[in-house]
Every structure is written in structure tokens, then in C-alpha cells.
């Protein structure tokens, strides 16, 4: 490994540690990372589950859980944007930028810490899921792959959110702005309902929506697919793992350099 890479990793580790200390000291973050996914699981399993027009005989829990996983980690990655904006507002980004540390470490440390937060959420949700009847019907390796693909996809969204945070600069506005994008992405998808229930225009969007692909990939990897809910005959959903990884790669290739550049040029005022 080159010296610069070692230093980038060392600096990123320092920043990650700093961000995780905050998680430890601000109980709200833990509550958000654990309680709200539990609430989601229970809400969709017992409240909306009955109202959503699903084919009879379907195993609700197995259909819904991968969707809830995906929605939660995507929402979880929006934390990145608000946190970066908060650091900017409090002058910490100025402090960091005046130090001889590597240029990408503040963002790497941030996105990695948020990945950790998402990992905690997903474990809590999985346990809750198992309690309400969700089951993994695949091999251990596939199940691990299912968790990883959810996390890796959310990680790439974190980088997009990092750039949004650097450009928008006000935590509250970052939150509102990201909801405008994230809500349609997670709801106009196969997250909670089978795609055939959508009208045609929305349906095309939902079929090519990367969130649908993540959900479908997770369903396949956890063995939660069912004959009762046929997968639409589009390439994105027939090859969900590949399609998801493609989007992940595109997000990372675009937003890692863009966010690092925005970071170098930003200033607290």
C-alpha cells in the first residue's frame, strides 16, 4: 500500500471513531437506528400488511421484510448529509480543512460511520423480523450476501448525501430535501406492494428503480421469493444483484470524487 493510502485510512479511522463516539453519546441516534426500524417492521407487518392488497396465501412477513430493510438503510444513509451540514455549520469542517490530513478522510470517516449505524439497524430489524415470522430460506453465504448488498447500496447513497450536505449546508434543509427524493424512490418500488398493482407509467419507473432491484436482490438472497408474486420480465429485476451493483458502482464513481471536490472547496460561511 502506498504511504498516502495508509495515511488516508489512518485519518479516516480517526474520523470514524469520532463519529461513533457521537453515536454513543447521543442516545437519540441509537433510538433512531434501532427503535424506528422495529416500529416499521411491526407497522407494516400488523397494520398496513392487512390493508395492502396482496395475493392470498402470501407470507406477509417474508414479502415485506426485505422491503423494510431496504427502505430503512436508504433512509439511514440520509443521516450522512445532515451530519456533514452540521459539521459545516459548527465550523468543524474548517478545522479539519486547516489540518494536514488527507482530503477524503472526513467524508470516508463519515460514510463509514453511517454504514456502521445502518449495520446496527439491519441487525435489529432482522431480529425483530424473525420474531414476527420472517425467515431466511437460503444458504448462509447467500444470506450474508443479502445483508451486504443492502449495506453497500446504502453506502453509495451516503456519498450522494455527503455531497448534498456540502452544497445545501443546513441540516434541516438537507433532511427535507432528501425526503423529497427518497420517499418516491422507496415507495414507487416493489418495497411494499407487488409491481403489477402500479399504473403503467409508475410501473416502468418502479421496474427500473434501483430500490426495487435492491429489494428484489435481497428477497432472492434471503430466499423470500414466492411463486405467488411473479417477477416482472424486465432485465433490471431479472438480474437484480447485477443491476444493484451497477447502480452502486455508478453512484460511487460519480459522487466520491464530486463530494471530495466539494469538500475541498467548501467553507463554513
Amino acid at each position: 500500500m502506498s504511504a498516502t493510502l495508509v495515511q488516508t485510512l489512518a485519518d479516516s479511522a480517526v474520523i470514524t471513531k469520532r463519529n461513533l463516539i457521537k453515536v454513543k453519546r447521543v442516545p437519540d441516534l441509537i433510538v433512531f437506528a434501532t427503535l424506528s426500524p422495529i416500529m416499521f417492521v411491526l407497522l407494516f407487518r400488523y397494520v398496513f400488511g392487512g390493508a395492502i392488497n396482496l395475493p392470498p396465501d402470501i407470507n406477509y412477513a417474508e414479502f415485506l421484510l426485505p422491503g423494510i430493510f431496504a427502505q430503512t438503510v436508504v433512509f439511514g444513509s440520509t443521516v450522512t448529509g445532515a451530519s456533514i451540514a452540521e459539521d459545516l455549520q459548527k465550523g468543524l469542517i474548517d478545522r479539519f480543512r486547516s489540518l494536514p490530513m488527507s482530503r477524503s478522510s472526513v467524508l470516508v470517516g463519515r460514510t463509514v460511520a453511517d454504514l456502521g449505524l445502518n449495520a446496527i439497524s439491519i441487525v435489529v430489524m432482522a431480529i425483530t423480523g424473525l420474531i414476527v415470522g420472517w425467515r431466511i430460506n437460503s444458504s448462509f453465504g447467500e444470506a450474508v450476501g443479502g445483508f451486504l448488498i443492502l449495506l453497500v447500496f446504502a453506502f453509495s447513497i451516503s456519498w450522494l448525501m455527503a455531497m448534498v450536505g456540502l452544497l445545501v449546508r443546513t441540516p434541516e434543509v438537507v433532511n427535507n430535501a432528501s425526503f423529497i427524493v427518497i420517499f418516491p424512490l422507496t415507495f414507487v418500488a416493489n418495497t411494499f406492494v407487488p409491481l403489477e398493482t402500479f399504473p403503467s407509467v409508475l410501473r416502468t419507473f418502479a421496474e427500473w428503480n434501483p430500490v426495487s432491484a435492491v429489494v428484489q436482490a435481497a428477497r432472492e438472497l434471503f430466499g423470500n421469493t414466492s411463486e405467488i408474486v411473479p417477477v416482472p420480465d424486465v432485465w433490471s429485476l431479472q438480474n437484480p444483484v447485477l443491476y444493484t451493483l451497477l447502480w452502486t458502482a455508478i453512484f460511487l464513481a460519480a459522487f466520491v470524487p464530486l463530494a471530495v471536490r466539494a469538500y475541498q472547496r467548501t467553507a463554513s460561511r
Binding site: 463516539i21 453519546r25 468543524l92 478545522r95 480543512r97 494536514p100 490530513m101 467553507a267
Partner: protein
Amino acid sequence: MTDAIVVEGLVKRFGTTTALAGVDLTVTEGSVLGLLGPNGAGKTTVVRILTTLLAADAGRAEVLGLDVARDADAVRASIGLTGQYAAVDEYLTGFENLEMVGRLYRLPRREARSRARELLERFDLTDAADRPAKTYSGGMRRRLDIAASLIARPRVLFLDEPTTGLDPRSRLGMWEFIADLADGGTTILLTTQYLEEADRLADRMVVIDHGRVIARGTGDELKEQVGGRRLELTLARAADLGPVAERLRSLALDEPHLDEQTRKLSLPVSGGVDVISEAVRRLDGNGFEVLDLGLRRPDLDDVFLTLTGHAAEEARAGGETAQPEPATTGGALR
């Protein structure tokens, strides 16, 4: 002696605002420069450019012979910055804040920790070392922020209004500390709104306004320019201001300044208590009711009013409107 900081023709615009309109300054290695100016003068902008946070639109800025734009990384390794607003992580303890910054300066872990403890001690924060900085008072945050900028023993230190918001006792402590650092050979660029502070700490001062240098020199040189002391009177009746000013006019070095609102009269004078007794003699027995009378050393306001006033006049007289430093600043000044 070599210059640790060299700034030449620095220009910075924000949209239509010209924050810096061609600033030149140098700071000799191991000395303290006080950068003075009112709100919006451009002090912070100079500091931000020198600390690599902001790119200048024109001009040259070097720290220890390194160009701040081209060699930003090398510059960052040898400077410390305490910005105008404390930049500490509220969720970390004081110790963790310092350790983190030390590690990011690439100090080995043990050294980062021992330096952190040393600085917490020096800044009277040992008792609060293991409390999150969220629980700190404004003054404590400020001290922690300054400690953070010192962790790697920088050769050049930038302090942007380091004592704003400190109580008088903490301010004195901070002054003592900055003086110690300067004695230890650290080059310091310090911005402030207080002439007294610059007077105490700085070897030389540069006064800027509207992004231009309007004066530079030692504290004494600057004060000489504003006409030494002022005689200040507060009267009971505003109507007396004119007649009183008339009687005292010949004592004044410059036009008396009258303020109807506060019923105050201020005259630049030379000399000491003899001026007071002379003033009292002239006013005595004329029925003027004087509430307060005293000699006051000029403060930044006076320096400012005088300097900006003169600058405008000179520029008109000489027709050199583009000249950042009018000739008035000559004589006493470099």
C-alpha cells in the same frame, strides 16, 4: 530576519462584495502581528486565505516560504488555526477533541495523548477533560479551541479574535499565554477589535478597513497618529457644548468632537494632567455644569475615526484614490 508570512496584493471578492482590495503585509519570523479592523474589514478573510481555507482571486500569500495555494498541504503541516468561532466537537470530551486533532496532525498516539493532557492543564481544563465539550462554557470552548490549534507545536499560529467572548480574567490569562508562545518563538498573526489587546501582544500592527490597509506600525506609532490622549467632558446641558468647546479649542490638536445626544465633548490633546488643570481653570466660574472630565487614551474607535477620516482627505487631495495607503501614514510608519 526572515519573514514567516508574506502577503502581496491580496484580492478576494464574494460576488459583488470586495472583501480584500489589495492587502500587503509581512510578519517577521518569531514576531506577533496584530491585524486590526472593524466588523467586515476583511480580517477573517486574510486569515482564511493564509490558512488555505479560501482561495484568493489575485495576489500572493506565503507562509514559511510556501505558497498557500500551491503547497497547501505543507502549509497546513506547520500552522495552527483558531478561527473566529470555536470549532470543537461538542460530543467529544476535551481530551478526545485534542487527541483527535493531534492524530490528524499525524502525531503518534502517545504523543497526541501526552500533549493533550499537557494543554488541558495549561488551559485550566483538567477538571473538565473528560466531560463532553457540549457542557463547556463559551470561554472553556474557546480555550479548548486554542489548545487544539497548538497541539502539534505549530511554527506559525493564526488567532482570529482569540479573546472575543472571554471574561476579563480569562482574557488576561489568554494574553499571558499568547505572550509566552511568542517568547517561545512562535510566529503569531492575531486579529482583534481591541487596540489594547494588540498593544499588549503585538510587535507590529496592521489596520485594515474595507479590505485595504489604512495604517501600519507599532502601537505607539499608531497612537501618535491619533493624537495621543483625548480630553473628554460630559456636560449637564447640551446647550453648553458650543461655548465650552470654544473656550477649550486652543488646547486641542484637532477639531473638538461634539455629541449632542450624550452631551459629550472630546478633544485630542497632548500632555498630561496639566491639560486638565488648564481646562478646569478656563471653565471655572462660568456657570457650566461639568458632570465628568478626564483624560483618556485613544482606543480603536479613535484610531479608526482618525485614520479613515485622514485617509479620505488625503486621497482627495492627492487624487490617488486607488492608493491603498495614503501618504498620511508616512512619518511614524514604515
